[in-house]
């Protein structure tokens, strides 16, 4: 017999258990520091969604996470692993700061568009060679993109420590970018147009994925390479392109970060945004609304933890611990759900 209320009840119970377990594990991690978890959660919420300012600062941090997540999920849909988001992001950011300091058209909109294009191109270029190696020589792209991250970390660190270091800086950084490169805040609110750019890209990519031949080709290559090959798709080309699009988005995120948030490039420019994007992509699959939602939660934890650090003894680094705990639970929940569905299907056949 089909009992709707019973199913609903079961679902809400499993959700309550799921959220309860997350809060419980978060509390245990907070307890390591000897603080009261309730206090900590209060300050986290206050600092991320507690008032207009906090809420908009959270939104302001989302664009990086959305774009770096897409940088993994687009190659992922074509069966490629792009772990190089961190390096592509750093290279995009450095390119933006470097161009903005050494060239100027004196036309703000043109400046921004040119600089962002170069950031995206730099990211795409850094994703190109691992993809090519994978397609031509079967070199594992997980290892090469990851090793590439370390190379770029040291390369950009060299650039801001030696040739392009601002003369008056105590911490290695470039000069500040000129005013006519800055992406302005939205009417005095503490968040800039970068947010809308990332949302536009998210929607645009979803439309391409669902409605265009290109999107169909990508998912076909990702799901069944042999079938795609039989259907006349140049699998290698699709794979390389998907990686380059991913790299371009990560590079663009770096460029937007310089033009809209930091206004310079410095040592330690990224506290691991590439890897955070990777986590988001891994748990959201390819659903844009999930990418948006998880990016919001991750950004809220990141922004809220800075507020929490002011009032408690807990370092802001806890945000990443909480984020990764969330990833464990979401992964577990998804895989268990798949198992249950499979079992139900098997039961139906009997």
């Amino acid at each position: 017999m089909f009992n709707k209320t019973k199913i609903l009840k079961n679902i809400s119970w499993s959700w309550a258990l799921f959220i309860g377990l997350i809060i419980l594990s978060w509390s245990i991690i907070v307890l390591f520091s000897g603080e009261n978890p309730l206090n900590v959660f209060y300050y986290l919420l206050e600092g991320s969604v507690g008032n207009y300012n906090a809420f908009f600062s959270t939104l302001d941090k989302m664009f990086v996470l959305i774009l770096t997540a897409l940088a993994v999920s687009i190659p992922g849909s074509a069966g490629m692993w792009n772990i190089g988001g961190e390096g592509q992001f750093l290279l995009g950011g450095f390119t933006a700061a470097w161009l903005a300091i050494y060239f100027n058209t004196h036309l703000a909109s043109l400046n921004i568009i040119i600089v962002l294009s170069f950031s995206a191109a730099a990211g795409a270029l850094w994703a190109y060679w691992p993809a090519l190696l994978k397609v031509r020589l079967k070199v594992d792209e997980v290892v090469t993109t990851l090793m590439g991250n370390y190379v770029i970390v040291f390369f950009t660190s060299y650039m801001v420590n030696f040739p392009y270091r601002a003369s008056d800086s105590t911490w290695p950084r470039t000069e500040y970018i000129p005013d006519n490169f800055i992406i302005p805040p939205v009417s005095n609110l503490p968040f800039s147009y970068t947010f809308f750019i990332s949302i536009a890209i998210l929607i645009f990519i979803e439309i391409i994925r669902k409605k265009s031949i290109l999107g169909y080709e990508y998912s076909m290559v990702g799901k069944n390479e042999l079938f795609a090959k039989q259907g006349g798709i140049d699998v290698g080309k699709v794979k390389v392109r998907s990686m380059m699009i991913g790299g371009a988005l990560a590079g663009l995120a770096g460029g937007l970060m310089v033009l809209g948030l930091t206004y310079k490039f410095m040592d330690g420019f990224s506290p691991g945004y590439g890897y955070t994007g990777l986590l988001i992509a891994l748990i959201t699959g390819n659903l844009p609304i999930f990418i948006f939602g998880i990016a919001f939660i991750f950004a809220a934890l990141q922004v809220g933890s800075i507020n929490m650090q002011l009032f408690t003894n807990i370092p802001a680094e806890i945000s990443k611990v909480l984020q990764s705990v969330l990833v464990f639970f979401i992964t577990a929940q998804r895989t268990i759900n798949i198992k249950i569905k499979k079992k139900e299907r098997a039961d139906n056949y009997e």
């Binding site: 991690i29 390591f32 079967k138 070199v139 890897y275 990777l278 748990i283 611990v321 992964t331 998804r334």
Partner: protein, 298 residues
């Protein structure tokens, strides 16, 4: 001049051992059909636990034991997701790496307020084993390394024997290459994969202990520095052969050592730090080209 060569040699052995140990651990799961991307995190958890336990009990032995226990626990967590829940091993591996990287930093910051380094004179280092071989040259080459260095050389043979000569080794390789045959033989794949995972945890814990209690005697943020992934590259290049693992680990250890030893020269340090990673990429490319030219080379 010979002094410099000797210093580089000693430093090469020291830097190669963590990579070697992690590769041996990863090799076991590789044969069991799991490409282990969590080695980076496991090694880091081992390094952190080693320092904490050595500090708490003022004993290097407790440090090593702690490293093994913590690393095995995380390895079991990884295995629970990969083997039992059938989650994607890349996804959960990277989640675990980021979790451990941030958790160890968080705990370090709580213990030593606002610092990225866990450092104290109370941390006991792993003692070096010195014995007399009768000649100065031989003594220089083969003595005065940490106990783990000798242990890991022995372990290469143990693992080699274990994987290719024992029934368990056979099941292990079957779990990776012929899982159906294993099921037919009445052996549970999950049991094999969990045991492989425990062994991998032990090896990664030892690798971490060598990093934080012998190469240096402190814990610093992300001190494994991608060596877990270098170990993954070693396994992919060696295609699961323990003897090749030693040679390749030594090669990567050499470039690690060079990047430290050459720092007084005119080259900016950042380019030297890049060296081990560039060499890893380079060797992956070279090995792929040679495999493509002659597919029968193993």
């Amino acid at each position: 001049m010979s002094d410099i060569i000797l210093t580089i040699y000693i430093s090469t052995v020291k830097m190669a051992i963590p990579i070697l140990l992690a590769s041996l651990g990863g090799l076991i799961t590789y044969h069991a059909g799991i490409i282990n991307v969590a080695m980076e995190g496991l090694m880091l958890s081992g390094a952190f636990a080693a320092v904490v336990f050595s500090y708490m009990y003022s004993s290097a032995f407790m440090g090593i034991l702690g490293a093994i226990i913590i690393s095995v626990l995380f390895s079991l967590l990884y295995s629970f997701f990969v083997t039992t829940l059938k989650a994607n091993n890349f996804a959960i591996g990277f989640a675990l790496n980021i979790f451990i990287s941030s958790l160890t930093l968080y705990l370090t910051r709580i213990i030593f307020k606002g610092q990225n380094v866990f450092n104290s004179p109370d941390i006991k280092a792993i003692p070096n084993l010195s014995f007399n071989l009768g000649s100065q040259v031989l003594n220089n080459l083969f003595t005065n390394f940490s106990i783990l260095v000798y242990l890991s050389i022995i372990l290469i043979f143990v693992i080699s024997y274990f994987t290719f000569k024992t029934p368990f080794g056979l099941w292990l390789r079957a779990a990776g290459s012929r899982p159906n045959a294993l099921v037919t033989a009445g052996i549970k794949i999950s049991v094999i994969q969990y045991s492989a995972s425990i062994l991998c945890g032990i090896f990664c814990g030892l690798a971490g202990a060598q990093l934080s209690l012998s190469n240096v005697v402190l814990f610093s943020k992300d001190m494994s520095g991608g060596r877990g992934f270098v170990a993954l590259a070693v396994i992919l290049i060696a295609k699961g052969k323990p003897s090749l693992v030693l040679a390749i680990s030594l090669l990567f250890g050499l470039f690690d050592a060079l990047s430290i030893q050459l720092q007084s020269s005119y080259i900016p340090p950042q380019f030297l730090f890049m060296l081990p990673y560039l060499v890893t990429i380079g060797s992956l490319i070279i090995i792929s080209i040679s495999r493509k030219r002659n597919p029968f080379i193993r």
